[in-house]
């Protein structure tokens, strides 16, 4: 079953604006990852945040994690046309020694208009 659920499903913004995508999940996790997928391509890892972390930054990306609300957000600041892509959250759970389960949400499709 799907663990993460992104919101909104689609987002359209003007270049230079900020884009915020949210991810909600249902059960306890060890970490949460965000991936990006350009049309027709594979997924590319953006950032990972662990369950004991609240916020993480990477360049123009800012990720927050609220384990009490079981939610995460991805903020892309000063968006560019090249940021147009689908963004997926993936929740990571350690099942037992050596077994790590990563479950993807359905994604948010971001369109940045030049």
């Amino acid at each position: 079953s799907q663990q993460g659920e992104e919101d909104p499903q689609a987002l359209s913004i003007q270049e230079g604006e900020n884009a915020t995508m949210n991810c909600s999940y249902k059960t306890s996790i060890n970490n949460l990852q965000w991936y990006r997928q350009n049309s027709g391509r594979g997924l590319v890892h953006l950032i990972l945040i662990r369950s004991n972390e609240r916020e993480k930054h990477s360049g123009r990306l800012r990720v927050t994690l609220d384990t009490s609300k079981k939610s995460s957000s991805l903020l892309i600041t000063a968006s560019r046309a090249a940021d147009t892509a689908s963004y997926f959250c993936a929740t990571g759970v350690l099942k037992r020694a050596g077994s790590y389960q990563l479950t993807f949400g359905k994604g948010t499709k971001l369109s940045v208009i030049p």
Binding site: Q33, G42, V44, H45, G92, S99, L102
Partner: protein, 114 residues
């Protein structure tokens, strides 16, 4: 350094035909995964492997078989293709270890079953 390579990139099958999708990684990763991506469904795990000679079922394993005879290769087989297996298939890999949860993806195989 090619990363994760999937072959073929596109394939059209008739119902009942069989085929094998090949995933090869040159990063010496222990773990390898096969996902399928359907519109509006996100990515769903089919099978995975935690090392050479080992495989395990994921979320949607029915109709698929896998083999990991060599560490660098992970094969996904469809013995008797069905239209419901029309999808985009992604292979991913990652190193062993708790702090190595980031997945590296191939560029995908688009499969149509008529």
């Amino acid at each position: 350094n090619a990363g994760v390579t999937q072959t073929p990139k596109f394939r059209v099958l008739k119902t009942g035909q069989s085929m094998t999708l090949l995933c090869a990684q040159d990063m010496n990763h222990e773990y390898m995964y096969w996902y399928r991506q359907d519109p509006g469904m996100g990515l769903r795990l089919i099978h995975y492997s935690v090392g050479e000679g080992t495989t395990a079922k994921g979320e949607v394993p029915d109709g698929y078989n896998v083999s990991r005879l060599k560490k660098q290769n992970f094969l996904l087989g469809l013995e008797s293709a069905a239209p419901s297996q029309t999808s985009v298939y992604f292979c991913a890999s990652r190193p062993k270890g708790y702090l190595n949860e980031k997945l590296f993806f191939g560029s995908g195989t688009q499969l149509s079953v008529l």
